[in-house]
């Protein structure tokens, strides 16, 4: 029902104030503004897609691998205080995302603990709009767009598309990986406890090191859990909102703007609820597509295994 209503509103010029039934039908105008007509709306949408795309392709694999690894560690029967470790690792997942983002902001202050620990020049993490890939390219002397990258595709130049996540977004990614891996770890723990310990013992008797046991015995047996966590991860990361809202509200220089945040700001700050609904609908389609691709990919490797 809400999905259908969102779809319905996305074809109207509803401002978000007053009843949507008084708004006018505007056909595909909202979608045109986001996808076809050049202008600020399409540009903001393109920027949000770029930001979130990098966010998804980095956060999802990282949190899945980390979670699997943590689950494997805390599942070791020889580990003392397993319960305490599990609680500690799960803690960030049950803390309010807004509260934890604020703590993160303090940690990443220029004079914060992260800058003190890292042996690099002080970085004002959450205020740094430069792309990570741009920064790496800068190390190799490429600090402005080469001629092939100046061409504009969908409002942004190739150079802007290839910027990578900004340093500010990167800090939010680290936060997301840290907080979500606790939840995913629980899913993997559930999977691990379903694995008959004799299988691992047999591998150990055969002389497999712990790494080999992890890589060749445990990981293949956890395939259903991998499928679940990656699917949840893809859906969750495309919808990233809380952290962005609490940290930077899309800044610096729109580099932490995400489609979900755009939906919020269009609907509630800019009185463009119709446009927001259209953005939400496109986001929905993107998530469906990604989930479908991911299903195809994991499905194929299932046959190979």
């Amino acid at each position: 029902m809400p999905i259908l209503l969102t779809l319905w509103v996305s074809f109207r010029d509803w401002t978000g104030i007053g009843s949507p039934f008084d708004s006018e039908f505007t056909g595909i105008d909202n979608y045109r503004e986001l996808l076809v007509d050049p202008g600020i709306r399409r540009k903001d949408f393109a920027i949000s897609i770029r930001n979130t795309f990098y966010y998804v392709i980095i956060v999802v694999p990282a949190q899945t691998v980390l979670a699997m690894f943590l689950a494997f560690l805390v599942n070791q029967r020889f580990l003392r205080g397993r319960g305490a470790f599990r609680t500690l690792l799960y803690f960030p997942s049950v803390t309010s995302s807004i509260a934890i983002t604020l703590i993160w902001l303090v940690l990443f202050f220029p004079s914060g603990i992260v800058n003190r620990v890292l042996p690099i020049d002080t970085i004002n993490w959450f205020d740094e709009p430069n792309g990570v890939i741009h920064n790496v390219a800068g190390v190799f002397g490429v600090d402005s767009a080469p001629s092939w990258a100046r061409q504009e595709v969908f409002e942004l130049s190739m150079w802007e598309w290839l910027s990578g996540p900004s340093v500010a977004m990167f800090a939010i990614m680290l936060l997301a990986i840290w907080t979500t891996s606790g939840t995913m770890m629980l899913i993997f723990l559930g999977g691990l406890q379903n694995i008959n310990p004799e299988i691992e013992e047999a591998a150990a008797v055969d002389g497999a090191s712990w790494w080999k046991r992890f890589r060749y015995v445990v990981v293949p047996l956890l395939r259903p859990q991998v499928y679940l966590t990656v699917t949840l991860g893809v859906i969750g990361t495309w919808q990233v909102f809380d952290q962005v809202y609490a940290a930077n509200q899309g800044g610096p220089q729109k580099t932490t703007l995400t489609p979900a945040f755009l939906v919020y700001s269009q609907a509630f700050k800019n009185s463009k609820a119709g446009l927001a609904a259209a953005t939400a609908t496109i986001l929905f389609v993107i998530i469906l597509t990604f989930t479908w691709i991911q299903r195809r990919v994991t499905g194929r490797s299932d046959e190979a295994a």
């Binding site: 969102t6 401002t15 978000g16 949507p20 909102f241 609907a267 009185s271 927001a276």
Partner: protein, 425 residues
């Protein structure tokens, strides 16, 4: 019955949009009313002589300081004892979201805060009742610029409760130490900013946004759009000069954004001694008094550009919802914004009365704040048209790039103008 169904559907539509925006976060403030604890003042008043039980009104506003909440509740208590109507003030944590949900569901509060920035959106959607003739006491007393900030398409919608303007707030000791007089022109400001900058302190600090940078454009006689927000006017020599002036000051290291020096906002930077001068409004006064009582500060009007001084007026009014418009609601609004209520309201803390007749009375308690009040004479209302917020956002983004030295003034003007034209059509 039909009506109820459509109200429910409308509400679900809002939830759908907010659910899409929030994922499965627990932020459900849109749907919940956080009622202020009913104080003795609002509930225990016995109605006056008549047997009329009086209307029960709900008023919404955003949550701010406790002083503000308690002042308003006290004022509403006094109103109850005069009128016999009882008014409950319910501050909302996520105000825009909560108000939009209530309006869509057809159940808005009787009257509520409306920011001048938001007024065109609400008025265009028909959410506000226009002011009926004669319900507001002496409307001619209200500053014309503030009255026009709440006028949309020729209709006056709501009376301002108070207002704020921007001024140049400075650290008296820092200026005295450097032997500098408070600057009165933009040239003097640049010189002062350079002289006041030390390794631990920036001469001038303000947030990288149109709501601050715009005062320099106004001072030069320019601005981002024309008066009725129908055409972009950013591409002018006046704006070019103002933006170049700011870019130079930032790139020379004499000016800074608050975040670059680890301050949440310019007021905090001034309090911490990281800024010698900041561009802020009168809301800074209470903040400094509460958090940095030792900071010796003062304020002057914004330094003049080639065409005089420029500042913005930020103002909030009490709007009466079109849905439940009642005489009682207008009566309460008139009390709160009328000569008596507004005097009590603005005396309690550092917002300025929107009525000219209250000027002298207010100044006798707030002598130091006269520069802010003087700004009312030439202030530009902080207001655009529905949908223009995107252009302001684009300006802010480009302005950040400008002061970082990533783009030139001409590039900023070209891309913001393009963005503006795509919105204004």
């Amino acid at each position: 019955m039909k009506r109820t169904t459509s109200q429910v559907l409308a509400f679900v539509a809002v939830l759908a949009v907010s659910a899409a925006a929030c994922g499965d976060s627990s932020d459900d403030s849109a749907a919940t009313t956080v009622a202020a604890p009913a104080t003795a003042a609002t509930t225990a008043q016995s109605p006056p002589a008549s047997d009329d039980p009086g209307a029960e009104l709900r008023a919404w506003g955003w949550a701010s300081s406790e002083t503000e909440d308690s002042t308003l509740t006290g004022l509403l208590g006094e109103y109850s004892s005069i009128s016999g109507d009882s008014v409950t003030f319910e501050p909302q944590p996520e105000y825009d979201t909560a108000l939009q949900a209530a309006l869509s569901a057809g159940d808005p509060p009787d009257f509520f805060y409306v920011d001048s920035f938001k007024l065109p959106d609400l008025a265009a959607a028909g959410a506000l009742a226009p002011i009926p003739d004669g319900v507001i006491t002496d409307p001619g007393d209200i500053y014309p610029s503030l009255q026009s900030a709440f006028t949309f398409d020729g209709t006056w919608y709501c009376p301002p409760k108070d207002f704020s303007t921007l001024g140049l707030v400075y650290d008296v000791d820092a200026l005295a130490e450097a032997g500098i007089e408070p600057p009165t022109t933009m040239e003097e400001l640049a010189v002062a900013a350079a002289a006041l900058t030390t390794p631990d302190r920036k001469g001038l600090v303000f947030g990288p946004e149109l709501a601050r940078a715009g005062v320099f454009m106004l001072g030069n006689g320019g601005y981002i759009v024309n008066d009725d927000v129908s055409a972009m006017t950013l591409d002018s020599d006046a704006n070019r000069a103002a933006l170049q002036y700011l870019a130079d000051m930032f790139q020379a290291g004499n000016a800074s954004t608050p975040s670059a020096i680890e301050a949440g906002w310019a007021g905090e930077a001034l309090g911490q001694g990281k800024a010698a001068m900041v561009i802020e409004g009168n809301w800074i006064v209470g903040f400094l008094a509460d958090n940095f009582p030792d900071r010796n500060w003062d304020v002057v009007e914004m330094p003049a550009g080639t065409e005089g001084r420029g500042t913005f007026a930020f103002t909030v009014c009490y709007g009466v919802g079109a849905e439940h418009e009642s005489d009682a609601a207008w009566d309460a609004v008139d009390y709160l914004t009328g000569p008596e209520g507004a005097a009590k309201w603005t005396d309690a803390f550092n917002v300025m009365p929107a009525r000219q007749s209250l000027r002298d009375g207010w100044l006798s308690g707030h002598e130091k704040l006269e520069p802010f009040l003087n700004g009312a004479e030439y202030a530009h209302a902080w207001q655009f048209t529905p949908g223009f917020g995107d252009v302001v956002g684009e300006f802010n983004t480009q302005f950040e790039q400008l002061i970082a030295g990533d783009i030139t003034v001409d590039q900023l003007i070209a891309s913001v103008t393009e963005a503006g034209e795509s919105v204004l059509g």
